[in-house]
């Protein structure tokens, strides 16, 4: 039900048969997540707030910089140095105090994406890097939520809806990201300040149309916009039957790694080995023995498939079963008990003994999120 205040505010919608009271109530009930409150997110957030989208989530962790103001019109000069989500919220509340704004002050990651995104009906991707775009795509495919997508470069934009029911996903179009350095970013290549306004409002339009169920959604079509030529072109997008969105082989991965971005890793401690390195050893079939020193009930919760269970308490009496010349990696839940286990083996004269840093918890976080954390 719309309140009297809402009826007055949205009257120009209500008198249009394509929206009407029913449509406005759909907008009010809708939950839309905007990932990024920069160039694209700014106009999307402002217009969706004005249109009366009932719940708008914002994901950003950046602060407003003076160089943003050339295009990110949701932020003003007074906001320099403020968190973008706070500044965006303030502008949106001023436009429309009747809606709910949910702030997620985080960088979207494989660990938090599903938990954040599952609370929304529609996702609008306004991010600026390939790892996050692949992450959003994959999470939208897994959650079966439409991803209203746009991207911009200099004076060109692309827009479409990915992962809608029966429609293609981002990977159907681009199975893999470009290697770093081959495609310049906006920070390197520049962007016409007005461009995200035009392209962002294509996104906002498609969000509103999806909510209303009105018109022809931009599904299976890639809209290309060239501001200099002032020309819109449309290309066909097809669902690729070989894409993981069709084969169902979908899980969230390490997207920085996928996109070839090197993260500085802390130097390993002596006698320690990272879960990722253990994974590499398993995949390359290196000759080593993986010992899980947790208790049997913990082993039942989740385990690394190639591991052998020897609870820490049993290790001293079972040491005779083990070849002192073999290569061992030990792990537990967090890394503490297995460090003690390593000491037991080393004290018995075992030379090649390593502790997997962070235990199975780190394994779940860094290698295989399907292994439950407990």
């Amino acid at each position: 039900m719309l309140t009297q205040e809402e009826v007055s505010r949205y009257s120009r919608h209500l008198i249009m048969p394509e929206v009407g009271v029913d449509g406005q109530e759909k907008l009010k009930a809708a939950k839309v997540l905007l990932i990024g409150t920069g160039g694209l997110g700014a106009p999307v957030a402002m217009y969706l707030a004005a249109a009366g989208v009932g719940t708008i989530g914002l994901v950003d962790f950046d602060v407003v910089d003076v160089s943003n103001l050339q295009r990110q019109v949701i932020h003003g000069t007074k906001d320099i140095g403020k968190k973008k989500i706070d500044s965006a919220e303030e502008t949106m509340r001023d436009i429309n105090p009747l809606i709910k704004i949910v702030k997620h002050e985080v960088a979207l990651t494989s660990e938090n994406a599903l938990a954040i995104m599952c609370n929304y009906d529609i996702i609008a991707d306004g991010t600026d890097n390939f790892p996050t775009r692949f992450l959003i795509n994959d999470a939208c495919v897994m959650l079966n939520k439409p991803n209203v997508y746009a991207s911009i470069f200099r004076f060109e934009g692309q827009a479409t809806i990915f992962a809608a029911e029966g429609g293609p996903c981002y990977r159907c179009l681009y199975p893999e990201p470009p290697p770093p350095g081959l495609v310049p970013s906006c920070a390197e290549g520049g962007v016409l300040g007005i461009l995200p306004g035009v392209v962002g409002l294509i996104q906002a339009t498609e969000v509103v149309k999806l909510i209303l169920g009105a018109g022809e959604p931009l599904i299976g079509r890639l809209m290309l916009y060239d501001a200099l030529a002032m020309r819109f072109r449309e290309l066909k997008l097809r669902k690729n039957p070989e894409c993981i969105c069709s084969t169902g082989d979908m899980k969230l991965i390490d997207y920085d790694h996928f996109c070839g971005i090197q993260k500085p890793e802390p130097p390993p401690l002596v006698g320690e080995i990272s879960p990722k390195d253990v994974k590499t050893m398993i995949e390359s079939r290196q000759d080593f023995i993986l010992i899980d020193v947790r208790e049997p009930h913990e082993f039942q919760i989740g385990r690394i498939p190639t591991s052998n269970l020897i609870p820490l308490g049993e290790l001293p009496k079972r040491i005779a079963e083990l070849d002192p010349n073999a290569h061992y990696v030990l792990h537990c839940k967090m890394g503490g008990r297995s460090a003690k286990g390593c000491d037991v083996l080393r004290a018995a004269g075992f030379k090649r003994v390593f502790n997997m840093t962070g235990g199975i918890t780190a394994w779940s976080e860094q290698v295989d999120p399907t292994v439950p954390k407990y």
Partner: protein, 92 residues
């Protein structure tokens, strides 16, 4: 002659041209002619094995060549070949 549209991020490798006319009967020939004319484009369009990179799509008119005859897709007078690379910008 078919027309190849060069997208913004790749124009720097094509002497800033936004479109190039080529004499070719297939997409493969058209791209070969383009990269002969502008050798710097080659590494952006093709990988070391000479295959089209997976973050670049090629369209003849509005259809993706992956769903036509790929490199062998015929082109002729009046056809437009679009090179569409992935771009990521947005929050910036």
């Amino acid at each position: 002659m078919a027309k190849i549209l060069i997208p913004t991020p790749l124009r720097q490798f094509a002497e800033k041209n936004n479109s190039v006319a080529v004499d070719a009967t297939t997409v493969g020939e058209a791209l070969a002619s383009l990269t002969t004319q502008f050798p710097d484009l080659r590494k952006n369009l093709f990988n070391d094995e000479g295959k089209l990179r997976s973050f670049v799509n090629v369209y003849v008119n509005d259809e993706d060549i992956r769903y036509l005859q790929k490199d062998a897709t015929a082109v002729g007078d009046g056809d437009t070949i679009s090179i569409v690379p992935s771009i990521a910008g947005g929050r910036c």
